[in-house]
Structures are given as C-alpha cells and as structure tokens.
C-alpha cells in the first residue's frame, strides 16, 4: 500500500487514486528512454567536440607524429631531388666538355643512318627492328647461298664452308661492353679532337680502361701486327677470309703473334692510348673487300634488337672522337 498517490478533482471535490495503466507506464518509460538516447547523442557530440577517448588521443598523437616526420622527410626529399638534378646538369657539362656534343636524350633516335636504306621498309612494320635485323643478318650471311640446285655432297661441302663463314665473319663486340656503356663515337662525320674539323670517322671507338681485353671478333689469322707511336699506334689486323678483315688500334700490348690462327673470342691484345689518341680507347674497323664498312652491322651475335637500337643512338651522336 505504499506510495499510492492521489489527485484532487476540484469539480467533484474528491480525491482519486492516480492509476497508471501498464501501457501508460510503458509509454512513459519509452518516452523517457528515447529522450535519454537523444540526450546521450547530444552529450556524445558535445563530449566528442571537446574531449578524446584514450584511443582517439592515441590516434591524434600518431597523426601529429606522422605529420612532423613527413615534413622532415619532405624537406629532405626536396633537397635530394635538387642535388640530383644539379648533378645531372654537371654530368651533362662534363659530357659536353669531353664529347663536344649534347648528352643523350632517351626520347628520339636519329632517323635513318647511312647506307642501309633497304631495311627502312621493315621499320614500318611492328617488330620492325627484329625483322630488319634478321634481314640484315640473312643478307650478310646468305648472300652467296644458292641452295636449290646443289647435290647432297655439294651441300655438305657448302654447309662446311658456310659454317666456317659464319664462324669467321666479325659478329661480336671487340671488348666487353655490358649495357653498352663503353660505346663511344661510331661511323660517320665527327669532329677531329685535335684539328677540330669535320672528318669522317671510319670505325667505332670503345672507351675502356688501359689493359682491358680485346677479342677477335671472328675466326681468322693475324695478318699484321704493328708497333708504332704514330697515328693508329699499336695495331693488329686480322684476316677472316671471305673478304673480311678487322683492325684494332691504339693498343697497349699484343697477345698474339704474326701469322697466329685465332678463334672468335680469343684475346688478341689490350686497350691502350698509343698513337695519336686523346684517351684510352679501342678504335675498331671492319673491312670488307678492301673497303672500310660500318662496324655496327657486325655485332649481331652480341646484341638484341633493342641493344642494337641503343647502340646506334649512342654511337651516332655527332661529336668529337678520341682519335
């Protein structure tokens, strides 16, 4: 009987019990609950705007720390970027001093180069370079092959000859030239380093430290060895037969004797700076039927199509030679 409440009805002048139905009670409770939740949300918003839970505090600290570090790194990174850019410019200047030419830009390759225009049509095809290169290779090796009307025996003889021709033709680079970093001036008009006039460079220069190994680029015989302080300096001429000869100049020393037979890849001597040369390098020439030809066509065993492209780019750069 506790806490029974009464209300006074002024019209009937009676006290009546305040009775609340369950439904009324429920409604009252729900209203209270809803208001409560609403208040809770308001509280949360108010609270959240001014205070942080520990987890949030932790996150904020993380963020500010990351931020601070980011700024430090960002500054450092900008500085590194600036220094590297500066360095590349200095590199370019040194390049210009040594080569008297603009440093290489990877974008454009000089269109076309002397002599072999009939391969140009292949360049228009997709995979053009590979096709062009293969065509070159085939032309060079198969120029003298006429297979159709040969008898079996003749074919065997022919193949033997053939194999030896393939082994004999200059087909690799004369020095180790990984990534083509040793490629210097190639075939074509260049500036003479001493006379400073335009002079045709009949060969290809490879920069390399004094004493680097020089390889015979095809099977053959040592036809000529010359020691000299003039012009080509110490030089070797190999005779590969089939009308091919190769010349290696400004050498430091020899590893073969006159008349010696060599195989492709044999070390025939070492890079030097003898004769009239402005830096240690190998001057390499390929001679076919007594005419000096562009050596770039004679590295096909050594270069992929892309490397071939790249080598053309590098060696075609007009500029100063070392001899």
């Amino acid at each position: 009987m506790a806490n029974v409440k009464y209300r006074f009805n002024p019209e009937s002048l009676n006290y009546y019990k305040v009775e609340t139905t369950f439904r009324q009670k429920l409604r009252r409770f729900l209203t209270y609950f809803a208001a409560s939740i609403f208040a809770a949300i308001i509280y949360y918003i108010a609270f959240a705007s001014f205070f942080d839970l520990p987890k949030e505090k932790g996150l904020r600290r993380q963020i500010s720390e990351l931020d601070a570090n980011y700024h430090v790194f960002s500054q450092q990174l900008s500085r590194v970027e600036a220094v590297i850019q500066d360095m590349q410019e200095r590199d370019n200047n040194i390049y210009r001093t040594i080569f008297e030419a603009e440093p290489l830009n990877k974008s454009v390759r000089d269109a076309g180069f002397g002599g072999t225009d009939r391969y140009k049509e292949y360049e228009k095809m997709s995979n053009g370079e590979i096709v062009g290169q293969t065509a070159r290779r085939l032309d060079q090796i198969m120029a003298r092959v006429v297979i159709q009307s040969k008898s079996y025996d003749e074919l065997i003889e022919f193949a033997k000859d053939y194999n030896s021709e393939i082994a004999s033709i200059p087909a690799i680079q004369p020095i180790a030239n990984k990534d083509l970093t040793r490629t210097a001036s190639g075939w074509g008009w260049r500036i003479h380093p001493i006379y400073k006039i335009r002079k045709f460079h009949y060969g290809m220069d490879f920069t390399s430290p004094t004493g680097s190994e020089i390889y015979a680029t095809g099977d053959g015989v040592v036809e000529e060895i010359e020691s000299s302080h003039r012009g080509y300096g110490n030089k070797i001429i190999l005779n590969h037969g089939f009308g091919y000869k190769t010349l290696y100049a400004h050498m430091n020393g020899f590893n073969v004797k006159q008349g010696q037979k060599v195989k492709r890849g044999d070390v025939i001597g070492f890079v030097g700076n003898t004769g009239l040369s402005t830096a240690p390098h190998l001057h390499y020439e390929v001679i076919h039927n007594n005419k000096v030809v562009n050596p770039i066509n004679y590295y096909f065993n050594d270069l992929t199509a892309e490397e071939y492209d790249r080598m053309i780019e590098i060696s075609m750069k007009s500029g100063q030679t070392f001899d």
Binding site: L53, L59, F73, I194
Partner: protein, 322 residues
C-alpha cells in the same frame, strides 16, 4: 484559463488526511539531476561498451587521417627509390665512364655504397604502432645523402680533370707546323744524321721540313712564346713556345718572326715564316718538340691522316674564331 497545478496527494494514515506531496527544492533538484545524468551515464556505458567492439565515428575519421599520412609516406618511399635508381644507374655509370676516359682511378663499389651509420635525422616514432616505414625511410634518406656527398666530391675531381684534359689536348704540340700543301719534302728526321756543314755525325734534335721562303708557320699547340732570338748563326731566327704540361716547341731558321716574347698563342696561329737564317743550307723549318727539355721525335706528334685541304680548313677555322 486558469492553470490548475497538478498536485499529487498522499494519504497520511496517521492523520487520516490527504497531504499534498510537496517536493522540497532538494528533492526537486535531485530529480532534475537524475533526469540529466541518467542519460549521461547510459551514454558512457554504451560508448565504453561500443568502443570495445566498434570504431566510433570520430575514431574512424582519425584512423582514416592516419592512414592517409601513411600513404603519403609510402609515396615518398617510392619517390626516394626512383631517385636512388637515377643515382645508381645514370650518375654512377657516367662517373665510371668519365673516369675511364680521363684515366682517373675508379671508385670502388664499397665507397659508393656509403656504408651504414646512425641516422642523423630527428625521427620521432614513440607513438606509432608501426614505425617500420618511418625507420626505413630515415635509413634510405641517410644513405642517399651520404652517397650524394661522395658523388659530389667525385664530380669535383672529374670536373677539374676534364677541364685539364681538354686544355692538355689543345696545348700539346699535335699538328704539323706548316700547311701540308706547302711542304716540299722532309729533308731530315729526328735522330742521327750527317751534319751537312761539317760532315760530322750529330744528333738531330728535331725535324727539317723544306718549304719555300715565306711559308707561314703555325703554333702547333696553345702556349706562350717564352723565347725568341734573331741570329745569323746556329738556329738563326728562332721562336720557342711553352705549352705547359712539360712540352715546348722550337721553330728555327725563320725568315720573319711574327710574335713577341710573352705572347699567348693558339694552335694554328701564325708565328713566323720559313727562312734560311742561321746554320742552314736552304729554306726550311727546323722543328723540335721537347718534353721537360728532352727532345722527342716530332713524327709522333702529328697525324698523317690529315690532308692538305683539311689542314688548311683547320687554319681557316682558327682564323675566323680569333
């Protein structure tokens, strides 16, 4: 309309009357406080419970911010890697190539790698659950900074060496002293010969180039005129040029001398004309190349590959430049 206060009454069994329920201010306040703080309590209870299982909106926001910062740092890492590869693939390999050409010692890879060391950067990472990225970045930055420093020094060496190289090529006597087209023939070479005046064997310190009197003589390398002399004996009218790097050249039996002592000359510049002065049997140029005073064979100091016209072109170019 009169507002009737909804008073509530309670039956007092002792007094047997209805008493108004009057709430003291204290009680009223208490009720008000309960009303206000129950939801607050509920709120705390719910939040605490929730935060155990779920990320609250603010947390989500902060988390996302944190994640963003992290991404920025990852980007930075990638950028650093690409800068590093420019350094190693382009700059280092150029460095190697230049050193080869200039005949400088190559830098050992161990030096290029710049070793390890403590970080000089002030990195704070106490508050992070995953400081690995930051530490990695700090280490990379330090390494690249050290490598850059080493490369700067290397560059300085190469740069000055390149300048010297260029100067040396332009200074050392490396061309023929007269136009190939003007040369009549080489009458005497370096080394032993019979002295035409006294038929005695003498050591010839240079080369004799026969050419018509008045033929222009060119300095064979950049240098300074350190000596000139007019005489009827011995070398006759002569000029000596110092090319530095230990090299000097002598031009003797000249007809006219067209420079003065102390003059700075360039390769290809006219210094005098061929004559027959001094101990000479006919107009010719006696030409000497000396290194640290010792005579060298001039044959080794010019190219046979240059034609007369190419030589003349060189002279023309030189004249138009100066």
């Amino acid at each position: 309309m009169i507002k009737i206060k909804r008073k509530k009454y309670i039956f007092d069994f002792d007094k047997l009357t209805f008493q108004e329920i009057k709430k003291t201010p204290g009680q009223k306040l208490k009720k008000a406080l309960v009303l206000i703080f129950t939801p607050a309590l509920m709120f705390f209870a719910v939040i605490s419970l929730l935060s155990l299982f779920v990320d609250l909106p603010k947390e989500l926001l902060l988390s996302r911010q944190s994640e963003l910062k992290y991404q920025q740092l990852l980007l930075m890492d990638r950028k650093l890697d690409s800068l590093s590869s420019i350094l190693t693939q382009k700059i280092f390999s150029n460095d190697d190539a230049f050193r080869t050409i200039l005949q400088l010692d190559s830098l050992a890879n161990s030096i290029r790698e710049a070793g390890t060391g403590g970080s000089e950067l002030n990195i704070q990472f106490q508050n992070l659950n995953n400081p690995a990225l930051l530490l990695k970045l700090a280490k990379k930055l330090d390494k690249i900074n050290r490598q850059l420093q080493i490369q700067e020094e290397s560059h300085n060496e190469i740069s000055s060496s390149a300048e010297t190289w260029k100067e040396k090529i332009n200074s050392i006597p490396l061309i023929f002293p007269i136009s190939k087209n003007d040369l009549i023939f080489i009458s005497s070479v370096f080394g032993g010969r019979i002295d035409p005046f006294c038929n005695e064997y003498s050591n010839h310190a240079g080369c004799d180039y026969v050419a018509a009197t008045g033929t222009k003589i060119y300095a064979t390398g950049n240098g300074i005129v350190t000596f000139l002399n007019y005489s009827r004996k011995g070398y006759g009218n002569e000029v000596i040029i110092d090319h530095s790097f230990g090299f000097s050249t002598r031009y003797a039996h000249l007809d006219k001398i067209l420079v003065a002592a102390g003059d700075s000359v360039n390769r290809g510049q006219v210094i005098g004309t061929v004559g027959n002065t001094g101990r000479s049997t006919g107009p010719h140029l006696h030409y000497e190349v000396r290194f640290e005073g010792q005579p060298l064979n001039p044959f080794f100091y010019y190219s046979d590959n240059i034609s007369g016209d190419e030589y003349d072109m060189m002279i023309r170019n030189n004249n138009s430049k100066n």
